[in-house]
């Protein structure tokens, strides 16, 4: 069950990744300018400083094509703005002056074609009313959970029915016995009622003990675990809007996931990279899990209040205060967990442990984060055994792979389930 879900998620995440990769590498077989591709490239590279309609760090891009004397120069400008400035182009130099001598970074990796795609996107966008939004892409839910619980319900009902039938049959049997005995004139003691029958009582107590014990132990194991924990956060930050609809790479904000044990909740300056420009919410309607409507723009304002940004003046007017997010994923102190180990060395997707985060408006804890859950994954997950040269020292395992004894190596086989891999 668990594997199936995670595989499914992985596939899905791979497609997200491919899309992200598409931002950087253009497909050469596309001839006509593709606004859809242009949007992706725009969001990955330009949106930090540019908006179609608004002047932000850089100028508003609506009508940009018309403002430049020729398209080639515009291409050159994107590739290397300094060279255009050096050539003495009047428009470029005026622009440079208008923005207080702040130079646009060079993007030599964006091909001319991609620039055209971006321009097509801008053209598309400028014709739309301000704040047009894309629709969310839904993912079909898996039905495994219901299936499983349906089965157990069925078995339960059957068990109950059978038990009742057995009880009735037993009762009939004893009545018949009594009748038979009466007929034959044999004196039979009055039957003990079942609630006084010691055998019955013993069986009931035994069953209660087993059941009670089962639930107590399970309850005790569950202490301190908080799967599905979904607290209300100080700001209604929607991962669905950011990572899902707008396809911002997880690592853009959670940069620590590649470097550190902590994935890091982004500092507010990371938020402001984009939200200097994006001060209104125009996406699909947001609601809490309880169904309460959320005003996205008001939530953005909360961020501004925290960082002390005055959106009308376009500058910081107050010292910032940190946002006190409610922590969801928390491992006990005696567990060492390292994000970078899993993301970089293990090449795991975020969704493996965090679930379909790009579909969550409000984040909830997807996995149990119990030791059994960790260990199960370590038992089945394969390491990058041949790709990663670190594992070259495991000569015997390499021989086994070569000889076909084993086809891959799991985390467990390289010691990944030993105590002191996580507890020290």
């Amino acid at each position: 069950m668990y594997r199936r879900v995670s595989n499914h998620l992985r596939k899905q995440f791979v497609s997200v990744l491919i899309l992200c990769a598409g931002l950087l590498f253009s497909f050469s077989n596309v001839n006509a300018a593709d606004a859809g591709k242009g949007k992706a490239i725009f969001q990955a590279n330009c949106a930090t400083c540019h908006n179609v309609h608004k002047k932000v760090t850089g100028p508003a891009l609506a009508g940009v094509e018309d403002r430049w004397t020729n398209k080639k120069l515009l291409h050159q400008w994107v590739h290397n703005s300094a060279s255009v400035l050096a050539s003495g182009d009047a428009y470029a130099n005026n622009l440079f002056k208008d923005f207080n001598g702040q130079q646009m970074p060079a993007f030599p990796s964006i091909s001319d074609e991609d620039i055209d795609n971006i321009l097509a996107y801008i053209k598309d966008e400028q014709s739309k009313p301000v704040g047009g939004a894309a629709a969310a892409t839904g993912q079909p839910a898996t039905g495994g959970e219901e299936e499983g619980s349906g089965n157990s319900l069925l078995f339960g009902i059957i068990t109950l029915v059978l038990a009742v039938v057995a009880l009735i049959l037993l009762q009939i049997n004893s009545n018949l016995n009594k009748l038979a005995a009466d007929k034959e004139g044999v004196a039979v003691p009055e039957p003990v009622p079942f609630y006084k029958n010691k055998a019955y009582i013993a069986i009931v107590i035994f069953l209660l003990f087993i059941l009670g014990g089962y639930y107590t132990i399970n309850g005790a194991i569950g202490l301190g675990r908080q799967k599905d924990y979904q607290p209300v956060q100080p700001i209604f930050y929607s991962h669905k809007v950011h990572a899902g609809i707008n396809q911002i790479n997880c690592l853009y904000c959670h940069a620590g996931a590649e470097k550190s044990k902590h994935a890091m909740i982004p500092s507010e300056n990371i938020c402001m990279n984009c939200h200097k420009a994006i001060n209104e919410y125009h996406g699909p309607e947001l609601t809490t899990v309880e169904g309460k409507k959320i005003n996205g723009t008001a939530e953005i304002q909360k961020l501004y209040d925290h960082v002390g940004w005055d959106k009308d003046k376009g500058k910081y007017t107050k010292p910032g205060t940190p946002i006190e997010w409610v922590r969801i994923h928390k491992l006990p102190d005696h567990v060492y967990f390292n994000h970078s180990q899993h993301v970089v060395a293990g090449k795991q997707q975020c969704q493996t442990c965090h679930g379909n985060i790009q579909e969550m408006d409000e984040v909830k804890q997807f996995a149990e984060l119990s030791m059994g859950w960790c260990i199960n994954c370590h038992r089945t997950t394969k390491v990058q055994f041949t790709e990663n040269k670190y594992y070259s020292i495991f000569t015997k395992l390499h021989d086994d792979v070569k000889n076909g004894k084993i086809d891959s190596v799991t985390v467990e086989q390289v010691g990944g389930t030993e105590c002191q891999k996580c507890h020290y």
């Binding site: 909740i265 507010e268 990371i270 925290h306 970089v344 670190y390 390289v414 105590c419």
Partner: protein, 1013 residues
């Protein structure tokens, strides 16, 4: 090779009954059980037991059913670019306290310094550290530090203080009284500041002074400096009471140099010959090949005799002790035979003694060979005579303002009362000291300086050799750099960090060079040949004065610095207080060290049992009209007529100087005398009385006994050259098990112990382990090892993961010493693993004996079954890891929110009732492996280093992957050191992952010692 008998103390040597009893009772604390006739009459009868059981179950249920607390995750508003939470940053800095010079690298996590390592770029120390350097990081979080400026003891603002002091400065000559300052830019600034106030001066005063050495250089070589010693070039080293590995000048540097002369293998079977002449048993003496003792009053005679024996024309006083006299002759012969590759150093602070020592060095050709006069050391500059003159000046009312910076004469001046009285005559008194110490309390103004980890500075350790200090954390308290005070008071608006930067930008020529300098932490010129010098001292005059010195009394007294505590500046460091002294193995106190013979004279009750018990007889020791009462500790090897007392104890009240330092031990500085030129740290006449009282001392000597099993191997150089294999002759016995002792000496199937990837292994060289204790403190810092306090040490509850066992052997009055670091051996066939009922301790596929604290239920079977006695049980909640706050047992402010900032966040705190032990610094190993994995390359040798290994100044510890044939540890075990390599208690087939290299003494083999019983 015959096995010598090694003993930790006399009780073990004579195997007394109480020793046997103590050994039997491994966990010296009584178990909370009792045996009585009827269960109901017991203290906790069955019914009570059931009540408690019921109550605790109910309580636990209620506690557990509470809601999970809501935790916050609070990110930065604006994350500093260089900080990634979870990833450490390293900053180069300098440990330059009291003139010591150790370039360091500070590890910070989320902006908090948590660990100090040596800076390996420095060619002076090459990354060496000492226990004090390792412990210095805890000093940053010392809760007893002054948190704000005060005027008359009341909190004040810096502006008010500046206003008042600024006005007062004009009222008469200003004197800056400081310890040695080796920062050239600070000195420049001091010069500029004092120039503003005519008649002002700077007096340099060191609590433990080297004035005699400096003055002797002035006379003999024309400059008041300390030359650079190069022990690494010496084939013969003679130390006259200089503890150069433990406390003398710059032990990190000298220890490292010395170690280079003690590394030995069959390919290059040579090592230095080290003679030590001393009164007490010092760390350096314990490591000497030949050691001779004399009374302090005989120092003069010994020096003169040595000078005469190397060909000096003086008439040396006769030495009655023939062993000593022969020793001097022998040492002189060796010095002369070394052809310049010899060095004599002396710990004396007497200018005449040092003059003769300089003359000896000149005679044996040490100048230019082992002593460098071109590049000199700035380790000390204190001038005793100037200090004495200052006190009389103050008493005469000739000082208008006294600025005290890092000096504490009210505590450590030989005549503290005179200083205190004189201080009252000074109108304005300002202290820059970091706490309300004995001097600061008497000063009107307290202007606390930053801790050095919060400061900017530069240090010129040796001529042209600079090491820099940069802040590793924002100041924790409202403190201010001393230099900023001087700048403000001289009317400048420049701040100190800019002043320093400007100075260096000019010298280096640009920002880029300055950035590089801060990154490296050091500037060192290319190596130049050692410079000689012409000796121009007046030997006849010095000899005359030495001969005229008065003779000693029946008992004599020497003062010394403990390796951990030093002159007392580090007294409030609980790590250092709890570090067992290398020689006495005592913690938390000072005491009177006496020999066994002398102890019996003081108290006939003092049998050999004495050392088993923590209660020590208290003696009243009187000398120079002053007396202290201190408990008596027997130290074999100390001169029979000498009492040795450590300085650095007997500090002020706990609320002033700190909980760990305050009211602990007795102050021995009053025994110091002033001979008109310099301070003498001995008394030639002492009287002793037995007070009849007793006082407990926490000594770890008797803890963790091996019950006489052979665990040390040693030989002499001569025998080693003759037959290198001799060390391991006893291993031949293993041959009868089969070809492989590892596989064949067990009934388990072969190949049970396989390590598919990495197999960690460690090697410890007993020949270069000097017992300094740096590893113990490094481990404590790295692994959050708890401090337990004296009372618990008495019970044998100390927590150190790595301890250094000190063993004596041979003659009990002049024993040989060997140090053996003992830590978890990570046995491949570990006895502890088999007995754990819950498999909390088990083996990893990398050869680590793992300890899962959260699985441990505290049966202590493992500790019981460990033949090495390296497992540590949490008898109390030392660190608040329990859920119940009332359980906390904290004696030294180790759990203050500020102090806890020193904890390594990658290592979990162990709670009450669980076992812990050395983990081979698994967090470092995992980190190194992860870096390799992330980069997609194999782990390189030397990438993963344990804390003890990096701390060791002598590189006695080698660690690495034994499976890697290119690794240092593999080569060492299989090629270089095959002959000396042995495993402790190998015969019990524990298959340890740690091997030791046998100790080799460069001395003539003595008649074989007694056989093991």
């Amino acid at each position: 090779m015959e096995q010598k008998k090694y003993w930790k103390g006399l009780e073990e040597l004579h195997n007394t009954n109480s020793h046997k009893a103590a050994v039997e009772n491994e966990f010296s604390g009584d178990l909370p059980f009792e045996e009585s006739e009827g269960l109901l009459s017991a203290m906790t009868p069955r019914r009570d037991f059931l009540k408690y059981l019921g109550f605790t179950t109910a309580a636990a249920t209620i506690a557990a059913s509470c809601e999970i607390p809501v935790n916050k995750a609070i990110p930065y508003v604006n994350k500093p670019e260089e900080i990634t939470p979870g990833v450490p940053n390293y900053y180069a800095s300098t440990f330059a306290i009291d003139g010591e010079y150790v370039p360091i690298v500070v590890k910070t996590r989320e902006g908090r310094p948590i660990k100090i390592e040596g800076n390996t770029l420095s060619k002076i120390t090459e990354g060496a550290t000492t226990a004090r350097v390792q412990g210095a990081v805890l000093g940053l979080y010392d809760v007893a530090r002054l948190r704000f400026p005060t005027i008359g003891g009341v909190e004040a603002s810096w502006t008010d203080l500046d206003k008042q002091v600024g006005a007062a400065l004009a009222g008469g000559p200003v004197v800056l009284l400081s310890n040695t300052i080796s920062s050239p830019t600070t000195k420049k600034l001091i010069g500029e500041f004092l120039a503003k106030y005519p008649g002002s001066r700077h007096v340099s005063y060191d609590a433990v002074s080297y004035s005699g050495l400096l003055d002797a250089s002035l006379v003999a070589y024309g400059k008041r400096v300390i030359p650079s010693y190069h022990f690494e070039n010496a084939k013969v080293i003679v130390s006259l009471g200089a503890d150069f590995i433990g406390t003398w000048l710059n032990p990190a540097e000298y220890g490292r140099q010395y170690a280079k002369t003690r590394k030995i293998n069959p390919e290059r079977p040579e090592m230095s010959k080290h003679y030590q002449f001393e009164s007490m048993m010092s760390l350096t003496g314990a490591n000497a090949d030949e050691r001779f003792t004399h009374k302090p009053s005989e120092t003069n005679a010994v020096v003169l005799a040595l000078y005469s024996a190397v060909g000096g024309s003086v008439s040396a006083p006769a030495i009655t002790d023939t062993r000593l006299a022969n020793g001097i002759k022998e040492a002189a012969k060796a010095l002369l035979a070394a052809g310049g590759k010899a060095l004599v150093v002396s710990g004396s602070n007497d200018v005449n003694v040092q003059t003769i020592v300089a003359a000896i060095n000149d005679k044996i050709g040490a100048n230019g060979s082992t002593i460098d006069w071109n590049i000199t050391s700035n380790y000390r500059e204190g001038n005793d005579a100037e200090m004495a003159a200052l006190v009389s000046d103050m008493a005469a009312g000739n000082v208008g303002t006294l600025l005290v910076y890092n000096a504490n004469p009210a505590y450590d001046y030989y005549n503290a009362a005179a200083f205190t009285d004189a201080l009252k005559k000074v109108k304005t008194t300002v202290s820059f000291n970091d706490r309300r110490d004995e001097t600061t309390i008497l000063c009107k103004y307290a202007a606390p300086d930053h801790h050095f980890l919060e400061s900017w500075s530069d240090t010129e350790g040796k001529t042209g050799h600079y090491s820099f200090t940069q802040p590793t954390i924002s100041p924790l308290f409202k403190t201010r750099a001393f230099q900023d005070a001087l700048l403000t008071w001289s009317g400048s608006t420049t701040i100190w960090s800019d002043y320093l930067k400007q100075e260096w930008l000019t010298r280096l020529g640009g920002q880029e060079a300055w950035d590089k300098t801060l990154q490296d932490g050091i500037i060192e010129p290319a190596a130049t040949p050692l410079g000689g010098a012409t000796f121009a001292g007046n030997v006849a005059d010095a000899a005359g004065k030495l001969t005229a010195a008065k003779k000693g009394g029946q008992y004599e007294l020497v003062l010394y610095e403990k390796v951990a505590i030093g002159n007392g500046r580090f007294a409030n460091n609980p790590w250092l207080q709890e570090m067992p002294d290398p020689i006495t193995r005592a913690t938390w106190d000072n005491y009177a060290c006496v020999s066994n013979t002398l102890a019996k004279k003081f108290s006939t009750e003092l049998g050999d049992d004495y050392e088993v018990h923590s209660e020590k007889k208290v003696l009243k020791i009187t000398a120079n009209g002053k007396s202290v009462e201190l408990p008596l500790v027997i130290v074999p090897g100390i001169h029979p007529d000498v009492i040795a007392i450590a300085v650095g104890y007997g500090r002020g009240k706990q609320e002033d100087v700190g909980k760990a330092a305050g009211e602990r031990g007795a102050n021995a500085y009053p025994f110091v005398t002033f001979n008109g030129k310099s301070f003498d740290y001995f008394a030639t006449e002492a009287t002793v009385e037995n007070t009849g009282r007793e006082f407990p001392i926490g000594m770890t000597q008797t803890h963790n006994s091996y019950e006489g099993r052979p665990i040390i191997k040693e030989t002499t150089l001569e025998e080693f050259i003759k037959n290198p294999k001799e060390v391991n002759e006893d291993r031949e016995e293993f041959a009868h098990y089969g070809a492989s002792f590892r596989d064949d000496a067990t009934i388990y199937p072969k190949g049970e112990f396989t390590y598919p990837g990495i197999k960690w292994g460690m090697s410890i060289d007993l020949n270069t382990c000097f017992g300094c204790g740096a590893c113990t403190i490094a481990c404590q810092s790295e692994n959050n090892v708890s401090v337990v306090g004296k009372d618990q040490v008495v019970l044998g509850h100390e927590m150190h993961w790595i301890r250094i066992d000190r063993y004596f052997s041979g003659d009990e009055n002049n024993p040989e010493v060997v140090f053996q670091p003992m830590l978890c051996q990570h046995c491949d066939n570990a006895p502890c693993e088999n007995v754990c009922p819950v498999a909390a301790t088990n083996h990893s596929s990398e050869g680590i004996n793992q300890m899962a604290y959260n699985r441990c239920i505290g049966t202590r079977y493992c500790a019981n079954n460990c033949p090495y006695k390296v497992r540590r049980f949490n008898w109390r909640d030392w660190n608040g890891a329990d859920s119940f706050a009332d359980n906390l047992y904290d004696v030294a402010d180790m759990n203050d929110n500020i102090t806890r900032m020193v904890l390594n966040p990658d290592v979990v705190m162990r709670s009450h009732g669980v076992m812990e032990k050395c983990s081979f610094c698994v967090q470092r190993l995992q980190d190194a492996k992860l870096s390799a994995k992330k980069a997609g390359r194999p782990l390189l040798d030397g990438e993963a280093k344990t804390a003890c290994q990096t701390a060791c100044s002598s590189d006695a510890i080698v660690f690495g992957n034994v499976n890697d044939q290119q690794s240092e540890i593999f080569k060492l075990r299989n090629v270089e050191q095959k002959e000396r390599l042995y495993y402790v208690l190998e015969e019990v087939h524990t298959l340890p992952s740690i091997n030791y290299l046998a100790k080799i003494r460069n001395k003539v083999a003595e008649p074989k010692a007694t056989h093991e019983a």
